[in-house]
């Protein structure tokens, strides 16, 4: 496990190592002494192209993991989120989060087991998404469609709060921050399984058959 702090510390350690190695005139040797044994390929790079990426440069990127690691500081309330939603999201996702040009966001619980050939399962944040952290991640990087990556962290937390509240996942007076978001348990949290392919198919004779051939012209 590696927290952001640990990762950033390792960046600093690597920088120190490079300096030490440079002083010693033995590229890579300093790194091996400072890097612990959990480094596979810490020796001298074969080519050394490119430049070190600094903390400051990497600060603009954060992809949160489901346990909340790397979620940024900040927070937002359901009430704040409602105002932002109505300004930024309503045109595509609808007054009642029912969808339109954009996906439907709420409802649909209980529709995933679907025996009805005429109806589709209703897949929404409420009914389908397994992790609330994904909501922050996706809104932050990709929404709104016509102006992505323009909302502040506080605004995105507030939108998460509003959508999760409308999905009856959190209380309407809730405040969402990094810790609270990672602690949210989504209704479909256990709804996913890993790939089961390649499948062992039953013989064709034991499977459904259908022929929709087109009759010959008169």
């Amino acid at each position: 496990m590696s927290t952001t702090t640990e990762r950033r510390a390792s960046v600093a350690a690597a920088a120190v190592a490079v300096l030490l190695a440079a002083c010693a005139g033995a590229p890579g040797s300093g790194e091996r002494s400072l890097m612990s044994d959990n480094v596979d390929a810490a020796g001298t790079p074969a080519y050394g192209f490119g430049q070190p990426a600094s903390d400051a440069e990497l600060a603009r990127f954060y992809s949160s993991l489901p346990d909340g690691r790397d979620l940024p500081k900040g927070s937002g309330t359901v009430t704040q989120g409602k105002a932002i939603y109505e300004a930024q999201c309503v045109a595509c996702h609808g007054d009642n989060l029912q969808g339109g040009l954009g996906d439907r966001l709420i409802g649909g619980r209980g529709t995933l087991v679907n025996g009805d050939p005429a109806k589709a399962p209703v897949k929404t944040v409420e009914s389908y998404w397994p992790y609330a952290t994904t909501l922050f991640d996706y809104i932050k990087r990709a929404m709104p469609l016509t102006a992505p990556d323009t909302l502040s962290d506080d605004e995105v937390y507030a939108l998460c709060a509003y959508i999760l509240s409308r999905a009856y996942v959190i209380r309407p007076d809730a405040t969402i921050d990094a810790k609270a978001l990672a602690a949210v348990r989504m209704p479909n949290r256990d709804g996913f399984i890993s790939d089961v392919r390649p499948e062992k198919f039953p013989p064709v004779s034991q499977t459904p058959h259908r022929t929709s051939t087109i009759p010959p012209p008169k």
Binding site: P121, Y138, R197, V204
Partner: protein, 434 residues
């Protein structure tokens, strides 16, 4: 759902013929065309320049060679990608016209597209790839840096895992462009991802790699680190030149054999982690609900699949007699070993010839001669086997295990045998026959 606009082949070619006749009569000489360059260009098919056509091209000089040029296709070729009419063209996809495909390589201008926030326009001089996370040496690379590394080239197919999503419940789109046009093959050139991962020093607790695009969607997918080290490529070349913008210029990831959307375009960042990131595109999308309500996630490989590209839906066999049956087969798990073709809806099968060389994780062209008697209807099918022994299933076999789950319950990874019915008047249609 079925708003995909199929242009009927015969109608298209007859209108093109009419246009050519008009141009030929009206502007018989090259000089006349030169005086009307704007109007003549407007009439040309996409990717072509309309030129005057002499009654006998052997009796006049052709148009002169330009000092500098890029090139255009013949004005008589009209095939284009067709967009599926999603609500917005910013998140949409276009289909490759497989019905006219020849051999195994897809022309770059006809390579299928899938983008989630339009096509990003990126100046390569300002593009940077960051590599960080569980690594000893976080680094950034300009495009010049990337191109300094030893390069490789490889022919690989890419297929959107949503290829065929309209075809689960009933035959829906009329042509092979609509039913199978989200697969294409190109020769890709770039740097093995493993080269750069070794440069940055991946830590022993690394398990996943996040790839992120520099487009408006900042498209992200988590990839197992074993796959990243095995055969992924940071590609900047496609079919002998730079990537097309819609294919991720200036840099994309290639994850051979895996779902198209994992081959992140406009690649700007790789983050190494000990767990998958559970991004939107690997949880709420690109997952499939089973009959028990559980959804299958991380369905990486595109399994063995084949389709007859000619004769195929929307075509018309003009007369009985010899017709070549030809098509494409591919497998994300390896190499196509065999393709069988049936003309009687799966009752009997004959082995097709495979165009050499047959390459792993690449379109494979098959061909079989056929005599059509012009009397009875025929149902044409192809069925492939890859070198893992996997046999392309019928739709019935897939439904028996995965269910249909209503319209759009099952969306992705439809690799069933496709059926084309040739009616006794020669008309070819998309049908279900399993």
């Amino acid at each position: 759902m079925s708003s995909f606009d199929n242009r009927h082949e015969r109608a298209a070619s007859s209108s093109a013929d009419a246009r050519r006749r008009f141009i030929g009569r009206g502007l018989g000489l090259a000089g006349a065309a030169a005086s009307l360059p704007f109007a003549s260009r407007a009439a040309a098919p996409a990717g072509a320049v309309e030129r005057p056509v002499a009654d006998d091209p052997a009796k006049v000089p052709g148009y002169p060679l330009d000092d500098e040029s890029y090139g255009a296709r013949s004005q008589f070729e009209t095939e284009v990608r067709q967009r599926y009419k999603t609500a917005t063209p910013l998140s949409s996809w276009t289909f490759t016209p497989l019905q006219e495909s020849l051999g195994i390589v897809t022309p770059s201008g006809l390579f299928f597209e899938r983008s989630h926030a339009g096509t990003a326009v990126i100046d390569p001089r300002r593009h940077t790839l960051f590599v960080h996370g569980l690594v000893a040496r976080p680094r950034k690379y300009t495009m010049r840096d990337v191109k300094r590394f030893p390069s490789i080239s490889r022919l690989l197919f890419l297929e959107c895992s949503g290829n065929g999503l309209t075809e689960w419940s009933k035959p829906t789109l009329p042509t092979v462009q609509g039913t199978h046009g989200l697969t294409s093959t190109a020769e890709w050139t770039g740097v093995p991802l493993a080269t750069i991962l070794k440069e940055v020093g991946v830590r022993s607790n690394a398990r996943w790699l996040l790839a992120e695009g520099g487009d408006g969607a900042a498209m992200t997918r988590s990839i197992p680190i074993e796959k990243a080290m095995k055969d992924c490529i940071l590609a900047y070349g496609q079919n002998g030149e730079a990537l097309r913008p819609e294919q991720g210029y200036p840099l994309r990831l290639l994850v051979p054999g895996f779902e198209g959307n994992m081959n992140i375009k406009w690649l700007r960042r790789l983050e190494i982690s000990d767990a998958p990131f559970m991004t939107r595109e690997e949880t709420s999308k690109y997952t499939d609900i089973r009959p028990d309500g559980k959804a299958v996630q991380f369905s990486f490989e595109m399994e063995a699949k084949s389709v007859i590209t000619s004769p195929s839906g929307g075509m018309q066999l003009e007369q009985p007699g010899f017709h070549e049956i030809t098509g494409l087969a591919w497998s994300g798990r390896g190499t196509i070993r065999r393709v069988d073709v049936s003309v009687d809806g799966g009752g009997t099968w004959r082995e097709a010839a495979l165009q050499q060389p047959v390459l792993p994780i690449c379109h494979t062209r098959f061909r079989l001669p056929w005599q059509w008697d012009g009397k009875a209807a025929a149902v044409l099918q192809s069925r492939c086997v890859d070198d893992t022994g996997y046999v392309q299933p019928t739709l019935g076999q897939i439904i028996a295990l995965r269910g249909l789950n209503g319209p759009l319950g099952s969306i992705y990874h439809l690799n069933a045998i496709q059926s084309w019915q040739v009616a006794n008047d020669g008309r070819v249609s998309n049908v279900h026959h399993y």
